[in-house]
Subunit: 153 residues, 2 copies
DNA sequence: GCTGAAAATAGGCGGGT
DNA sequence: ACCCGCCTATTTTCAGC
């Protein structure tokens, strides 16, 4: 399932992940190639699922999402059914922007974006009423120092 | 500096943050409006900085970035100069995808994406050689259950 | 697999309502 | 402020090399 990506593909991705709004001509010039081959490579990478659709990142602060929490979760339950319900709950809640299953002491970490601390409490109460967790620690972000999804290609 | 966003703007943002690749006509139809007003609203939101340029999210796994760490950092140093250097180090390192200054016990959390555990160690050694930290805990992600930057508008 | 051009489509802009 | 249609740029396809 691993895909072979050459240097040109990497350059194209690098351009797209910083600004996908430019014309093919500009991107082609930036990577030292021409329109058609660049277009073909992008199409192939889309089909291979290496890149998703272009998206726009809204400014959370400007839209009133002023509270970000990182939530560390321990659970004592590790049965398949519990996991399935927990996963479904995370997927269903739009305030959960990231969810990872971890190795070690802490079982899960979530990144939760909400309008304010009050809204976090609503989320938290709803979550623990849906699935049983052993211990939850919420870390409140005071300042977002960096936020990107760009990979160092 | 707060911007007034009405229901139509919210709908447009909602469309754009899931797929910015569709034509203006399609988006206009989806939000129940027409080309010109939608275009004007998008332009205004871009100018106001509410949305950045369209970008494409590459599939990290497919590109060989197979290790994600969440790094919890405690420090004893809180002088302005230390903070400045720490911030500069984070900005300069492309493997740092997120960095937040926290309230409470733990001072900072980072999300670090690297090719493998070995690469994380390289990053870690480089970081602690640049800035002094008191305590570092790395949480290794076993599975990315959810990852989005979309806001619930 | 690249080039260049042709066809299809969407962005951008002005006038009208 | 929105709707409509024109013009232009860009995307997408397809021939030939």
């Amino acid at each position: 399932m691993s895909v072979r990506i050459d240097e040109t593909d990497r350059k194209i991705l690098s351009e797209l992940q910083t600004d996908a709004g430019r014309s093919l001509d500009e991107i082609a010039k930036a990577v030292g190639s021409s329109k058609t081959p660049v277009w073909n490579r992008i199409r192939k990478m889309r089909e291979a699922g290496i890149i998703g659709p272009p998206t726009v990142v809204p400014d959370a602060e400007a839209l009133g999402f002023e509270a970000t929490f990182f939530v560390l979760i321990r659970t004592s339950e590790h049965e398949a059914d519990w996991q399935r319900r927990f996963l479904a709950a995370l997927q269903a809640r739009p305030e959960v922007q990231e969810a990872h299953r971890l190795a070690g002491d802490i079982d899960y970490i979530l990144k939760v974006r909400v309008k304010n601390a009050r809204a976090y409490d609503v989320f938290y109460q709803a979550l623990i009423s849906e699935v049983r967790v052993y211990n939850v620690t919420a870390l409140l972000s005071m300042e977002e120092l960096k936020s990107t999804r760009a990979l160092p290609l």
